[in-house]
């Protein structure tokens, strides 16, 4: 199986680069390399108009509000449509925080202004005064691998899923989508949206491998994947999980 290869697109790395989320790309890359699977990472930046149809995994992170306008203009210039058809075509998407919000219909600011987003999935986000910050944990359902995910959330937007839209997981401790309904993130086809920084993948190797398997299955029809010695990953994961389940959200 050593002739397998996955192509990863890192969307807007020059703008959406907050909170260490580029660690997700590094994590996917290393976990593929350690198994002898080739991996090619392409940065797709503002103004790049290449075809998105040949990528297997897309990653999109969060950025500063200040730079969002630049980004929305680029999405309107056609890239938004390519992203939409890649999602509909079953490509794997990992969308974090601002990148997650962007896949919904709109973001309504505190002042009531509606910023139209891509509307790939039926949900929207409302800006609030309270920032939801801290380590948190949520449980994935079986179709997303069934593991418990730990991460760090930091958002003032509250996201509400539309009727019948599936969340990525159920909050075990922390806020999640909106701090009200115990949902966290979204799962639509092979799009995985979450508020989790941390970054999400290195400390959650089961979830990282679930993404890899999903992408392998899409491209090769088989999701065979050799296990890795994940001692360091699991110890870091368990430390945060224990901490948040104990209710120790700070560190003091």
């Amino acid at each position: 199986m050593s002739d397998r290869k996955l192509k990863i697109a890192h969307l807007y790395p020059e703008v959406l680069n907050l909170y260490g989320d580029r660690g997700n790309i590094l994590c996917l890359k290393k976990r593929l390399e350690w198994r002898g699977i080739d991996c090619e990472v392409t940065e797709v930046k503002l103004g790049d108009n290449q075809s998105l149809s040949d990528f297997d995994i897309f990653f999109i992170g969060g950025g500063q509000d200040f730079e969002q306008e630049v980004l929305l203009n680029d999405l309107r210039s056609g890239k938004g449509d390519s992203i939409r058809s890649a999602v509909e075509g079953g490509k794997v998407f990992l969308c974090i925080c601002g990148g997650y919000q962007m896949m919904g219909h709109y973001y309504q600011t505190k002042e009531g202004e509606k910023l139209p987003f891509l509307g790939v999935v039926d949900y929207h986000t409302i800006g609030g005064d309270v920032r939801m910050i801290g380590n948190y944990a949520f449980r994935l359902p079986a179709e997303s691998g069934g593991s418990d995910v730990v991460g760090f959330e930091n958002h003032s937007g509250r996201t509400y899923l539309g009727e019948g839209v599936t969340p990525l997981g159920t909050v075990l401790a922390g806020y999640g989508n909106n701090g009200e309904d115990k949902t966290e993130g979204v799962r639509y086809k092979n799009l995985f949206g979450s508020y989790s920084h941390g970054p999400i993948l290195p400390k959650n190797p089961a979830f990282a491998d679930h993404l890899i398997k999903t992408a392998l299955k899409e491209r090769y029809g088989s999701d065979e994947l050799e296990a890795l010695p994940d001692t360091y990953e699991n110890e870091a994961h368990d430390y945060v999980l224990d901490k948040v389940l104990r209710g120790d959200m700070s560190g003091d």
Binding site: P13, N17, G23, L26, N154, Y232, E235, M249, G251
Partner: protein
């Protein structure tokens, strides 16, 4: 200053002194409690006890403590002992404590000069009370994100503070597009410093990390063009659309003649002369701290030779390039708190020509920021793949996270050991007969510094001054 009540002042000063004395008798280095007790009696006590003083305030993401220590050192060399706060006490309470403890019971300051390190978020509360002569802003990088949200938010906090003191001279890093934007539309006098285009060898500048905190023009959103970079987003920026660009500097480093682990030799261009100056601390970011300190001195109108001659003798400040010797092994402690500072320190380690041991300590307490995800934005690859790095230790509440980061950076898993207890860590890290570089974040530095300091006979931090 009118309308201050002498009775309130008296109780505020007395309460502050008493609390501080109590803490010291109890051998505790508490820094906020004395300030809190003073504020209990008089919310504006700081305005009373700083009245008439000449004050330089230093703020910005990186370099505050070292720049302050350079300024303090210059005044001390010239025979003046200024008031100054210690790092870790740079919020309103800590600064209030320092000024109040050094005032008479009627609230009169006993000293004329002060060098104040101020947290970016606290600036707007502090400066309207102390009316500084100069505010130095060193730079803006992404920092303890869960405290401030984003770097733009921090910048706006500083802008609010600056807006409250129109008579203060701003001393700004011209190479930082975020910092120098503080001059936009304010009536303040502005003094710019920086590192000039000919000082940095572009072949050796560090552009491997393309994570810029300021890639797009703060005024119009267009991508900046650069004539040169020093590091991260610092350098000769200009916006091709609206024309916002690096300002003409009042003083700048015109050449860097030598960089060694002991320090740097530079040439500084003043408006009326060029001077060769030695900075007694290593690495490029200390050249920035040095030129910031010279800039502040010039902006305050203080005697130039005091600062230029003292920079060569400046000692490392608490946990920042501070050196120790334990069992004949040299230990250098380098505080790292964010990707920009961390990358500079990692570059410093990887520039070593001899073998060494690297130690990374990571806590996630409130003073550190609960979010430690920034470690994935720093280039640990520089050390993880450095053949001179023979052994790595990790410690701190989030030791497992830093260990994982190092694994993904390419470190051999067997080369990394996790040691929780600092006493054991000290023994282990010095057991290789190799020099040790310890890179802790804030609270892990305090605890490691306490253990290493005690083992090597160095003082506790609150005994460091006065």
């Amino acid at each position: 200053m009118n309308g201050h009540n002498p009775v309130k002042t008296f109780f505020a000063v007395a309460a502050c002194r008493l609390t501080r004395w109590g803490l010291r008798v109890a051998h505790r280095g508490g820094t906020t409690l004395p300030g809190r007790s003073a504020l209990l009696f008089d919310k504006k006590i700081l305005e009373v006890v700083s009245s008439g003083m000449e004050i330089i305030v230093v703020t910005g993401t990186n370099g505050k403590t070292t720049t302050c220590s350079m300024l303090r050192n210059a005044l001390q060399e010239s025979g003046v002992d200024p008031l100054s706060n210690i790092s870790g006490a740079n919020l309103l309470t800590g600064i209030t404590a320092e000024f109040t403890a050094l005032a008479t019971l009627s609230g009169k300051p006993k000293k004329h000069f002060a060098i104040v390190e101020c947290d970016e978020g606290a600036l707007k509360k502090v400066v309207p009370l102390i009316h500084p002569k100069v505010i130095v802003v060193t730079n803006l990088f992404r920092d303890q994100l869960d405290r401030y949200g984003e770097v733009m938010h921090t910048l706006e906090e500083i802008r609010t503070g600056v807006g409250l003191v129109p008579d203060t001279t701003l001393c700004l890093n011209a190479d930082c597009s975020l910092t120098s934007s503080l001059a936009n539309g304010v009536p303040n006098k502005v003094f710019y410093y920086g590192i000039g285009p000919d000082a940095v060898d572009q072949k050796n500048t560090d552009e491997s990390n393309d994570l810029s905190d300021a890639k797009y023009c703060i005024n119009c959103g267009t991508e900046y063009e650069y004539d040169y970079h020093t590091y991260q987003h610092l350098g000769g920026f200009r916006c091709p659309k609206c024309g916002y660009k690096r300002a003409a500097t009042n003083i700048e480093v015109s050449s860097i003649n030598k960089i060694s682990p002991k320090g740097s030799d530079i040439t500084v261009r003043f408006q009326d002369e060029n001077q060769d100056i030695t900075i007694g601390l290593p690495a490029l970011y200390n050249i920035y701290n040095g030129i910031a300190a010279i800039g502040a001195y010039e902006a305050a109108g203080w005697k130039r030779s005091d600062i230029t001659q003292s920079l060569g003798k400046v000692a490392s400040s608490f946990g920042r390039m501070e050196t120790f010797t334990y069992n004949n092994v040299d230990i250098q402690m380098i505080l790292v708190k964010n990707p920009a500072g961390c990358n500079q320190s990692l570059s410093y380690l990887s520039s070593m020509e001899n073998d060494y041991v690297a130690v990374f300590c990571l806590n996630d307490k409130t003073a550190d920021g609960h979010d430690i995800s920034w470690i994935w934005d720093a280039d640990f690859e520089k050390v993880a793949n450095d053949k001179n790095c023979k052994k790595i230790y990790v410690s701190g509440t989030r030791a497992t996270d830093i260990r994982l980061r190092l694994k993904y950076a390419g470190a051999d898993e067997s080369s990394i050991s996790l040691v929780e207890d600092e006493n054991e860590l000290l023994k282990a890290m010095t057991s290789h007969s190799l020099p040790v570089f310890a890179l802790p974040n804030y609270t892990s530095m305090l605890s490691l510094r306490a253990v290493v300091g005690a083992a090597t006979g160095k003082k506790e931090f609150w005994k460091d001054q006065k």
